[in-house]
Amino acid sequence: MNIGNLPFVVAALLVLFGLYTFLFKRNLIKLVIGITLIETGVNLFLVTLGYRTNGISPIYTFAPEAQKMVLPTPQALTLTSIVIGLATTALLLSFAVFIHRHYGTLDVRKVKELKG
């Protein structure tokens, strides 16, 4: 089946959903969800870049003979960026916990000590 550029479109849509959430939602946790969505979109985009039609995973252990393999670099990059995403999400959520502790709310409109 020919799916054309659908994977790229899906990645772009994920990024856009995330951006929408980031820009228009007022809850800190939802902002974090938005960022995570963008991250997922970017990771998906990276890993789709490496696909070669009918390629197998680039591992030689018990691999079928004489098959072309998909590109390994995007997989390595995606691994790196997933771990980075995990780290940033954990830190963001910790900040959210502390903001809740200090302000008693997660509403962006009420967390505005620093302005101007």
Binding site: F24, M69, T73, V83
Partner: protein, 91 residues
Amino acid sequence: MRKALLLVIFLFVSAFLLLGVADMRSFGEPQIADMDDYYVAHAQGEVAVNNVVTAVVFDYRGFDTLGEATVLFAAVVGILALFRKPRKEER
């Protein structure tokens, strides 16, 4: 006002990204892959591992992995710092 501005930004970025997708090369057919072909062909000989991705992660691009480990370390240290117990006079 603020919302309208954000909407303009959002629409702008949307158009930007979708334009990019439309202009992107077709899925599953990387045009230039000489670096990756090199990895696939030489990982077994140079690094002596069967898993090419591991060869890239820990050998050819090992420094990225060190950076990635550092990122995780920084997050753990940062979270430890946030949840630490402040001294009495600091509260």
